[in-house]
Symmetry: C2
Subunit: 259 residues, 2 copies
């Protein structure tokens, strides 16, 4: 495959993971991008090089990344080379401005950034339910701690975060329950949508019970169904570019769900 695309996503192959937040900004705005590890033969080596623990500033003058995802933007680095940005919230802030997903003024830009960070915090906490004491150890080797962490997550953290986003959605009259800020799609909407989607996969009983109890109705009944109406998201979600959940952030371990 030739690479004439301005934007390249550098992330692990085969899982949604943190790369998904970046993919959704492209798909929601019909922006061409190359998903390197999924679309380029041997692309995985670029991801391994990115996180190599000996890597230092690259030939284009970019600092190394601690971990994927990273975004490569051709022509926008120092001296016209490639710019490489790591850290999901930094990538989203950058793309938000480029792709008109960051609101209409400086205030909205700051709020959207804060709301996306909050959705990403929930994403991180969902990850920690199956890796509460060590990111390197297997889930099976920290299962006792996971059971306790997941219970706390389901009972106190899910309602706290979702209740918060429900208040933001309901209080933004312009958004009609479809947008967190203003009257148009932002990358914070995409981030929240993805986390809610992932939670439904990882904790189906917990999320179904809350939905059936009438909790956070704006999120479940208005927001979640409306986000995929943007750009080519619907087509994307049923394509093979959308990867299934597996051993990534959102994992379905029945024992961690509501019993």
């Amino acid at each position: 495959m030739s690479n004439d695309k301005k934007y390249e996503l550098l992330y692990w192959p085969g899982i949604p993971g943190r790369g998904e937040f970046v993919r959704l900004t492209f798909e929601a705005t019909r922006t061409p991008y190359l998903d390197v590890s999924n679309q380029v033969e041997g692309g995985i080596h670029q991801i391994l090089a990115l996180k190599d623990e000996k890597a230092t500033w690259d030939a284009d003058g970019n600092p190394p990344a601690l971990a994927p995802p990273a975004l490569r933007v051709h022509g926008e680095g120092k001296k016209g080379g490639a710019l490489v940005i790591s850290q999901t919230p930094a990538i989203l802030a950058f793309l938000g401005e480029k792709l008109d997903l960051a609101g209409s003024d400086a205030a909205e830009r700051a709020w959207i950034q804060a709301l996306a960070l909050t959705a990403l915090d929930l994403n991180n906490e969902a990850h920690d339910t199956h890796h509460p004491v060590s990111t390197l150890a297997y889930y099976e080797d920290q299962k006792t701690e996971s059971l306790r962490k997941a219970t706390d997550f389901r009972e106190t953290r899910i309602p706290k975060f979702l209740g918060y986003f429900e208040r933001v959605l309901k209080g933004n009259k312009e958004g009609q329950g479809k947008y967190l800020v203003g009257d148009k799609l932002s990358y914070a909407d995409l981030a929240l949508w993805q986390v809610v989607h992932g939670l439904k996969f990882a904790f189906p009983k917990e999320m179904k019970a809350r939905e059936e109890a009438g909790e956070v109705p704006t999120i479940f009944k208005t927001f979640s169904p409306s986000v995929p109406e943007h750009g080519q998201l619907k087509e994307y979600l049923s394509s093979d570019r959308r990867k299934p959940y597996s051993k990534g952030i959102f994992r379905h371990y029945p024992e961690l769900d509501r019993q």
Copy 2:
């Protein structure tokens, strides 16, 4: 105390916590600010109102915050009111641009944001060493899990993160070991400095052993001593505006340190 200051920090009183990253940007640039809960009688009620679980968009048109810190900026909200921004990385990105702590172009701005986010990730992981399974429960009620989490943190996470920042510092020739990006102070430098300082308090044996073994010498010998030379930081660090560590993010539990 009269309040004629443009910037107000809304955070818990008496601890450095996540508010410290914001305070350091003001002190490093000699920017006047009001530390509401520490400097205004009854100021704590403003922090409690901020995180009230019934709060919705405020009279100035700002969305609610999930948690402190937040920054209030007079005159920059919608219709000239106060702008309120939550989430530490969003506050730092905003102030970084205002206070010339965000580099000299769009590439440096993105890198600085990513590096600050990485330092804040390390800060969050340090917090989780004493609260690995529940943020609401006491440390004493999750001590078994904490011992395991802290061991993993000390043995795998501290060297991973500090090794990464060492590579960034060494590879940035312009910075001479004093700056992560370019040849001047950024909010990423301040964030990294604060996390290293906090780690020395929480895990003194671990950090001393690594320093004496000659690990990450740029961080220990060049970077950490040079950051306080900026603005009024030296004066600040010996003033009573700098709060002591106690029951916040960085806690010294001897049993969690290297034995």
